[in-house]
Amino acid sequence: MRINKDSHVFTIFFTFAVTLVLVFPLTLAFVTTKPIADNYWRLQHWVKTLRSMGISADAAHPHQAERAYQALKKYTVKGTVNYDAVKANPHSLAITRVNDEVINKALQDTSYTGNLPIFFYSTVVDGQKRWAGDFTGPGLWGNVSLAVGVNADGSQITGVQVLFDVETPGLGGRIGEPWFTGQFKGLETSQGVVFNPSGQKLPNGMDAIAGATITSTAVRDILNNRALILLKAFIAQKGGQS
């Protein structure tokens, strides 16, 4: 049988057929690999949230990390956040408790986009309260999601970990490396975080990555404009409770 490949009917039929044939194995590959990717993302989330609070955790010991993570008190924000209103009045932020299932569901939905909802965590380390949260903002290519922890009165950062990013490999992508995330430990929060002038280390200063201005600025802005404002409100509301 001779096929007229230039006929409209055949072109339409054949395009549909090829699309179907290609989409089917892709769906299958997606469905089979998604749980594996989700596990990795969830484990990273446990480990990094704990580390941001100054609790040691290691992806090589997933069960320990899971137990330590389950012991945290977890909260989320109701509705959308008006940052200006929260800045003026910390009690205007509506915070409610959540359980692990809600967080797991949110992690499943965001394993490829990093667009995490805001979650707060509180726990006690060495008799001192610790507070942390997950905060997401725009980077250069996509979302940058950070776990940020602060000490009992919120005056110092206890740790920053990068939960998710798709920044430029070798440039902005280096925000996940320990030399970068390690510099936030102990920074003062009252004036917000600023870039260090060259050759100096300020008590609230971070070093930007050479050649990755936009990503470095994104990290600074997520810290100043989201994380520190919301963590302050979180402590104002929950800090009185033991």
């Binding site: 230039d6 690999t33 594996i36 996509g142 430029t168 070798g170 440039l171 992508g173």
Partner: protein
Amino acid sequence: MSMPTFRQVTKENLSVNNPVLVQVLGICSTLAVTNKVVNTLIMTVGVSLVTAFASFTLSWIRHLIARRVRMIFQVLAITFYVVLFQLILNAFAPEVARSLGPYVGLIITNCIVMGRTETFAPANPPLISWWDGFTSGIGYMAVLVLLSVIREPLAFGTIADFPIFPPQYVSDGYNWTIAIMAPSAFFLVAIIMWVFKTNGLKKEEALKAAKTANAMGGAA
């Protein structure tokens, strides 16, 4: 025109018609991913496999594709393999997927993949199209790995994350920031092209001279 042989295709793609040095294709990723050897290797393996299988697929159904809609099929086939590659990386090599960030998805618009599926695959049988795609990727890999082997030590003091300079090289700021950034690859590619073409030209001239000498010898 006679059918190209596997040997001809290999020679074309690796040297005389190298996709980066001669056709000047795939330059965006050449500039972007070559500051780390490991990233470069995985990226170029991805491009080689995607080009090979997309060429194979498109060549296999080439008699059924109307010319006016060929690009739809090219993008369909290329996207299929890229997404598959990305899903596999995400599941089994999440660290690598993370460090390559957006570049895996951008293989879809890599000029080499588009170029081979547009020019070679529609005119040749599937197996040699696979080989053409694969060797194009290897030609691209050769140039990119060379670049990354020069850039990574200058930028981070390491090769494939293995330290070759003392740690003070980076911590005391002796490393070359320019080598981290894309523009350094511009200079390096230009230098490599220059050397490559100068050598190529010399060979061509020698060949021409030999032919003329032969012809004259025949006449005399």
